[in-house]
């Protein structure tokens, strides 16, 4: 394992499987009355959040606390990248406080790369701009494996705003490493022009893709895309790329429906679909804690030669 987790593409297949297997072990602790493990006692994890993301922050916070780490929440939300204290100065401050790991969420793609150049501790990318969100991809893979029993050869269809989605980027990289067949379905305006260089297939017709999908993952349509000519109207988007009950019927019986949240019910996913038995959306949240525990454990405490240092 690298010292940092910045891109899902940095994980080898062995690294990824180690994280998933570790998460599986740690998940069992969540079912015990005493949820806490002593593994990271005395270590400090900083949650550095430049974007509002309560769900991701509390997931990391819960993960760190269950491993007995000290958690500092550093919310820099509202301070845009161009204003206020620079990321470098914040990094030096965290460094001086002895942060063993910094979990960073930032609106600027690449911010975790920059941070990693300025701190000694491990950097965990909790979502950077339109770049990556590797722990989301890990928890998605974890969820798929739990529900469907395997990842190798699994057919995963990711639908929606791939162009601006860090979740899609990390999922494509991680799932291809793990041997899944990924198909992206979106209007061409919401796909990167060089998507052909990615290790996945691309399609424009959701109805044709669904019967071949073991997993369908719906991406959130951001409000700011709705008036920027990426598609004519929300209604047309929903009609062509939204997952409603009728469309869900095209899926094979065993298939699952995923969404990284937060959802726009009625836009990319119908309420009945989100709440159906196929939906793993609530499970994904629970699995997020286990996977993030595994990541922190492996980066900070898992390897014996680093245990106890710093």
């Amino acid at each position: 394992m690298n010292r940092h987790l910045i891109s899902a593409g940095d994980l080898s297949q062995d690294d990824a499987l180690l994280i998933l297997d570790t998460a599986e072990e740690l998940a069992s602790t969540a079912e015990r009355p005493m949820k806490k493990l002593p593994t990271l006692r005395g270590r400090t994890v900083v949650n550095l959040f430049y974007e509002d993301s309560t769900r991701t922050r509390i997931s990391f916070e819960a993960a760190a606390k269950r491993l007995s780490a000290d958690v500092i929440n550093f919310s820099a939300k509202g301070s845009s990248v161009a204003k206020g204290e620079s990321l470098k100065d914040t990094a030096l401050t965290l460094e001086a406080m002895g942060a063993d790991a910094v979990v960073i969420r930032h609106s600027a793609s690449g911010a975790p790369h920059r941070l990693a150049g300025w701190v000694q501790g491990s950097v965990v990318n909790a979502g950077d701009g339109a770049h990556e969100h590797p722990t989301q991809a890990l928890l998605d893979a974890f969820t798929m494996r739990r529900r469907l029993g395997r990842l190798d050869g699994l057919r995963v269809t990711i639908v929606g705003d791939v162009l601006h989605s860090r979740v899609a980027r990390s999922n494509v990289l991680l799932l291809s490493t793990l041997g899944a067949d990924v198909t992206l379905v979106a209007p061409p305006t919401l796909l990167p022009v060089a998507v052909g260089t990615w290790p996945c297939s691309v399609a424009y017709d959701l109805d044709a893709a669904l019967p071949k999908a073991d997993v369908v993952m719906m991406l959130r349509v951001q409000q700011e895309r709705m008036n920027a000519a990426y598609f004519p109207s929300v209604r047309e988007y929903s009609r062509r790329y939204g997952l409603d009950v009728a469309r869900m019927g095209l899926l094979p019986d065993h298939s699952i429906v995923m969404h990284p949240g937060p959802m726009n019910r009625g836009v990319e996913i119908a309420a009945e679909v989100a709440d159906s038995a196929r939906s793993t959306i609530v499970e994904q949240v629970a699995n997020g804690v286990s996977v993030r525990m595994a990541v922190l454990y492996l980066l900070l405490g898992g390897a014996s030669e680093t245990g106890g240092q710093r």
């Binding site: 161009a82 600027a108 950077d128």
Partner: protein, 445 residues
């Protein structure tokens, strides 16, 4: 002040070794054996009349002698951003890079859009004295893209502006661009366009393609440059005016300019050293020292730019020297300023990209880095290595190979993308009208 200099044994334009006698600021003689006549051994020669006898000597053995370089595209930042660069530091950097004239871009604060501001910059250059500073005038008031600046007043000012540009911004309004091209015909001006369709590049950060897709940064598509280049070539042809295309960065632009030139239209173009050597791959680590506008492109673009410069489709190399203070680069990529320094590395980069690859010889380098930019900028007195011409010269040692050390640069800023990169060559001396500005690789004064 200028004195008499005798440069011995250097190779003018990379040719056979010769001696060069500089007297009263001009090249008095070029030829083999002047060293002998200068010492009085051949009493019949012109230089033997004692003039060369008192000459200071500079051993040019092994060195290439080129006309002083001319940059069509320099950001000196003064007035307004003296924390990044001043005319004094920028011209020192220019001299150390072998330049004897630079064109100072108009995006200062205040903008160089009036006779008053261009005269101020011109005067600062005269005071600095290490390199001629030719101000570029803004095309539109405040670079705002809506009203023409007083182009005639700037042309008639002491600065004698002939090159106009809103560089950093594109004159994207087709009517305004047409009028600007037409208007400057009255005084032999040229419009230098920063070709960037603004709507196609809203928030753009890196070349649109594999890298933008991977990095999750907003793409800057080649078509946003090429669409403007094509439109402007057609406009220049329609009104019979001169267009200069700044920092061409794509293979498609090269093709369009080649086509426009084949029609006989008055279109010229420049390419930067960094676009001749670096690719978008450098953005992979999100280090904003590689953030520049237009962005670094693909290896195919680099190859097309080199070929275009070699065959003359692209007329010249221009640095787009864009100094920025450290804090404007030590940030997240999308918050960082666009631009790279270039004056002190340009000749070495061109040596590597064009000479070592066999695409240009030294006469070609002199043409692309001195003669043609001087002609495009309407600068008399630069760009020619001949008897009777002002002694604007650079002596270059092609032999060494060393890593670029930004700490050694005279520019006030350190944002060079070539830091640590091993490049060939070394500028040994620069002369401005017979007076050395650089000697022994150091500022002469």
């Amino acid at each position: 002040m200028t004195g008499t200099w005798l440069i011995t044994g250097a190779r003018p334009l990379g040719g056979e070794p010769a001696d060069v006698l500089i007297r009263d600021g001009v090249i008095a003689e070029i030829g083999p054996g002047l060293a002998a006549t200068a010492t009085g051994a051949d009493a019949g020669a012109d230089a033997g009349e004692g003039a060369g006898a008192g000459a200071q000597r500079l051993d040019g053995g092994g060195l290439i002698l080129l006309p002083g370089l001319v940059d069509l595209h320099t950001h000196l930042r003064e007035p307004g951003r003296e924390d990044a660069e001043t005319v004094a530091t920028g011209t020192a950097a220019a001299a150390l890079g072998g330049y004897t004239a630079v064109h100072a871009m108009a995006n200062t604060d205040p903008v160089a859009d009036t006779a008053g501001v261009v005269e101020q910059i011109w005067r600062l250059g005269r005071q600095a004295g290490r390199c001629d500073v030719q101000p570029v005038g803004a095309v539109t008031v405040g670079l705002g893209g809506s009203r023409l600046a007083e182009l005639g007043a700037m042309a008639d000012s002491a600065a004698g502006v002939r090159l106009f540009s809103d560089d950093g911004r594109c004159v994207h309004d087709a009517v305004l661009m047409r009028r600007a091209l037409e208007y400057v015909r009255a005084f032999g001006g040229v419009i230098a366009q920063h070709a960037q369709e603004p709507r196609l590049t809203d928030g753009a950060q890196v070349n649109e393609g594999e890298m933008s897709a991977r990095l999750g940064l907003t793409g800057w598509p080649a078509v946003a440059e090429e669409a403007i280049v094509a439109r402007d070539c057609l406009l220049a042809a329609h009104v019979g005016s001169a267009l200069h295309v700044c920092h061409v960065s794509t293979a498609g632009s090269v093709e369009i300019i080649r086509w426009a030139k084949s029609k006989g239209w008055q279109v010229t173009a420049e390419v930067t050293p960094h676009h001749l050597l670096l690719t978008e791959e450098h953005a992979a680590g999100y280090d904003p020292v590689f953030k520049v506008n237009p962005p670094l492109r693909t290896a195919e673009d680099v190859a097309a730019l080199r070929a275009g410069l070699a065959d003359g489709t692209i007329d010249c190399v221009a640095t787009d020297h864009a100094p920025h203070p450290l804090e404007d680069k030590e940030t997240e990529w999308q918050a960082a300023a666009f631009g790279m320094t270039g004056l002190e590395t340009a000749l070495r980069v061109v040596h590597q990209a064009m000479v070592e690859t066999g695409l240009l010889d030294w006469a070609g380098v002199a043409d692309r880095m001195s003669s043609r930019p001087a002609a495009i900028g309407r600068l008399s007195g630069h760009g020619r290595l001949a008897v009777g011409e002002p002694a604007n010269l650079v002596l270059y040692d092609p032999a060494p190979r060393e890593a670029v050390d930004p700490a050694a640069h005279a520019s006030k800023s350190r944002n060079t993308p070539f830091a640590g990169m091993v490049l060939p060559g070394r500028v040994i001396a620069t002369f401005l009208r017979g007076r050395p500005t650089v000697l022994d690789e150091k500022l002469a004064w």
